[in-house]
């Protein structure tokens, strides 16, 4: 074993230079021509910038809500609730979210609420909601913002991101982009 240790140390150092050093730096160099120089994609409006992919908390009634989050959308950390599917405390929490939603959205039937709107995401930073999750909020926002429901429905259609190539994956809406566009509607 002894005769192996010195070469092993040397080989490890060479690997350190190649993989932690040269590989990392070359990806970093390429990132300089990527969107926002590899610091995360951003979107700007009214002189303020936001991260496109990092979900934000929207709890005010005049914005489309984002999903519940186990880390309250503080992107200094991340994570899910890790609650089991049959945990009674968890189920009570979901029931409470449904009840709260119904109070804030009069005229909506329970069966119209999609599950993504009352369950926490894996990252706690989910930037998206389903199309149904946006639609179910139209009535409330139209009332508060004094807008036509049809205008909002059009906005949702515009903001809907189709599955990849129209073939693979889910249909979804970026809540931040939707709300930025909503602010522009006035």
């Amino acid at each position: 074993m002894k005769s192996n240790i010195i070469p092993a140390i040397k080989l490890t150092l060479v690997c350190l230079v190649l993989f932690s050093g040269i590989y990392t730096m070359s990806i970093w160099l390429v990132a300089q021509i990527a969107p926002n120089h590899g610091k995360g994609e951003i979107i700007a409006q009214n002189g303020k910038t936001y991260y496109t992919n990092v979900g934000q908390s929207f709890t005010d009634d005049n914005y489309f809500y984002s999903r519940p989050s186990a880390v309250k959308y503080n992107a200094a950390g991340s994570g899910g609730s890790n609650k089991g599917a049959n945990n009674p405390d968890y189920l009570a929490e979901v029931q409470a979210r449904i009840d709260t939603f119904l109070v804030h959205n009069p005229g909506i039937d329970k069966s119209e609420i999609p599950s993504d709107l009352v369950t926490a995401s894996g990252s706690g930073l989910d930037p998206n909601i389903s199309v149904q999750a946006a639609k179910v909020q139209v009535k409330r926002i139209a009332n508060i913002r004094k807008l036509h429901e049809t205008a909002l429905s059009e906005l949702i259609t515009q903001q809907t991101e189709k599955p990849l190539l129209g073939l693979f994956g889910t249909e979804k809406i970026n809540v931040l982009k939707l709300n930025l566009a909503l602010d522009k509607l006035k």
Partner: protein, 566 residues
């Protein structure tokens, strides 16, 4: 057709196609045949060996291979311990994160050197960028270790009598530079252009549209995520792993990352076919692995897409399926698909939280790790499968009254003893660990109340999952478990060590001993190992072993949970 299902069919079809091509290339690398990349890598390899003072042409027998492997792994462990416990004053720490304590450093070092990537810390607050980059080094070279030692077993399986089986360092360097590096480069670039950060700047403070102030963690993420997936490592840069929108920003990156998880594990099977010139054997093995994989996959996808029955009772719409712990941009089908990929291959990265999946999906992810060879980890997945082949050869030999032979070598008592010990080690580590932890918890539920995030059967599953993941060198978790404690850091550290090195030593010893035996040419009396009959035999051995060893514990966990609702 449903676009979510179409998405996973596309991912699987594409990865098998790519793996067949890559397998051929890997085979060429092991055979020292000419490839496209030689112009670049021949001089680089020479430089590697010159600087390290290693003669890559020195032939080694199986024992020397193992000594070389173990000694370099010891070096990695020690370096890792030093860096992790001294991060606070070392460079590349823009967020001023503290160093971590000895127990957590032990667990983390073992975890990354053994290719497990079990994480009892959160990347955002637990590590400096230097710490991350050191762990990324282990992600490269621990994967290189697994693939290199698997190459040694391939060489040993050749139809000849041989004492020496090539040079470990040579296989190791060729694997890291010619296989892992180019692939990681491509994947990292794709991620960078899709919004995954690659920066050395620290957290960014910003005000949201609604007016809240939040901090956004960043870092050299793209480089890290690429090799984390390709090397079946799985350790996330951020706590939420590939569910995090910066690690895995959209459905396209999700396709790329999912493919990266399972690409090399499948390719290794075809590489074996190329090295041994036994394509039919490779397809037989691939068939058995695929059968197992699909049996775990299909019900998991169905369960997640059908949603959580307890939530259905509340009367809301579950058209997207069970969404707790899942991201809208992936949906429940791609999340379930990833879950089975990551547990079958000992990768352990997640794009949805396994703790919140429906009970039966939880069971299938557990089963993937318990079997640990439906494709399996890079290199080591094949070694695990090799053990089951040896067992199946012996059992079917007894059944039909022929001498058990595999590829022209007689399998005798010594090899069988090793194979049995290795086959039983995995259940032993999992069940003993789970038993000890459950005993502690049951005797003192108040003291250990912080362990479990969920009551009842699901809480038991959290314990079982942690030990299964450690022993399988997987690294995913039912993350509700409060695992940064002395007990969990030390217990899972020991399990990871045993679960990594013994299942490497065993198959290499068997293959090495067999390589030294007299070669007996195939005759009419030889049991054919590249037929579907033999494939089913191997599958039966795996199924019986897994069922007998693990069924009782699964009954106490996920199965009991399932029946408590239905």
């Amino acid at each position: 057709m449903n676009t979510e299902i179409l998405g996973i069919i596309f991912m699987y079809g594409l990865v098998v196609l790519l793996a067949i091509l890559l397998g051929r290339y890997i085979g060429k690398v092991f055979n020292y045949e000419n490839t496209w990349f030689d112009k670049l890598f021949n001089p680089l390899d020479k430089l590697f060996f010159k600087l390290s003072g290693i003669d890559p042409k020195k032939e080694m027998n199986w024992k020397q291979h193992l000594v070389a492997l173990l000694s370099i792994n010891v070096v990695w462990f020690l370096i890792s311990m030093f860096v992790l416990t001294n991060m606070s004053w070392l460079p590349l720490n823009p967020d001023g994160n503290p160093a971590i304590g000895a127990e957590l450093a032990f667990n983390t070092s073992v975890s990354f050197v053994t290719n497990t990537n079990l994480q009892h810390y959160s990347g955002e607050t637990g590590l400096s960028y230097l710490g991350q980059l050191i762990l990324m080094l282990w992600q490269f070279i621990s994967a290189g270790t697994g693939i290199a030692i698997c190459a040694v077993v391939f060489i040993a399986m050749k139809e000849r009598t041989a004492e020496t089986l090539g040079n470990f360092y040579s296989f190791f360097v060729r694997t890291c530079t010619r296989i892992l590096l180019p692939l990681a480069f491509v994947v990292a670039i794709i991620l960078v252009f899709n919004g995954t950060p690659m920066t050395f700047e620290g957290k960014h403070s910003m005000i949201t549209l609604q007016g809240d102030t939040v901090q956004v963690s960043r870092g050299p993420v793209a480089a890290f995520v690429a090799i984390k997936q390709l090397g079946t490592n799985g350790g996330g840069f951020f706590a939420a792993n590939s569910a995090h929108p910066l690690e895995n920003p959209n459905y396209f990156t999700n396709i790329i990352e999912t493919i990266s998880i399972i690409l090399i594990p499948i390719a290794m099977v075809f590489a074996m076919g190329y090295v041994l010139k036994r394509k039919k054997l490779a397809w037989t093995i691939f068939g058995v692995m695929t059968l197992g994989f699909l049996l775990l996959l299909v019900p998991s996808v169905m369960n997640e897409m059908n949603g959580n029955p307890a939530i259905a009772k509340m009367g809301i719409a579950q058209s997207m399926g069970s969404m707790e712990g899942k991201e809208v941009r992936f949906g429940s089908a791609a999340s379930a698909y990833w879950a089975i990929n990551t547990t079958c291959t000992s990768n352990g990265s997640v794009n949805a939280m396994h703790d919140s999946m429906t009970p039966l999906t939880g069971m299938f992810t557990l089963l993937g790790m318990m079997v640990n060879c439906f494709y399996g980890g890079v290199g080591v997945g094949f070694l695990n499968f090799y053990i089951f082949i040896i067992l199946a050869v012996f059992i079917s030999g007894l059944m039909v009254g022929r001498t058990p032979e595999f590829l022209g070598k007689k399998i005798e008592a010594k090899e069988m003893k090793i194979a049995m010990v290795i086959a039983l080690l995995h259940p032993f580590l999992i069940l003993a660990g789970t038993a000890v932890a459950s005993y502690l918890f049951a005797n003192n539920p108040t003291e250990y109340a912080a362990w479990l995030n969920n009551p009842g059967y699901h809480g038991f599953s959290e314990i079982l999952y942690e030990f299964t993941s450690s022993s399988a060198n997987n690294g995913s978790g039912f993350e509700g478990l409060g695992d940064n404690t002395s007990f969990w850091n030390i217990a899972t550290g020991i399990v990871m060590l045993m679960g990594r090195y013994l299942p490497i030593i065993g198959p290499v010893a068997i293959a090495g001993i067999l390589a030294g035996k007299k070669y007996i040419p195939e005759s009419a009396g030889t049991l054919k190992t590249d037929t579907s009959t033999f494939g089913l035999m191997v599958f039966a051995v795996i199924a019986i072993l897994a069922a007998l060893a693990f069924f009782p514990t699964l009954t106490l966990g996920p199965i009991a949970e399932y029946f408590s609702v239905h």
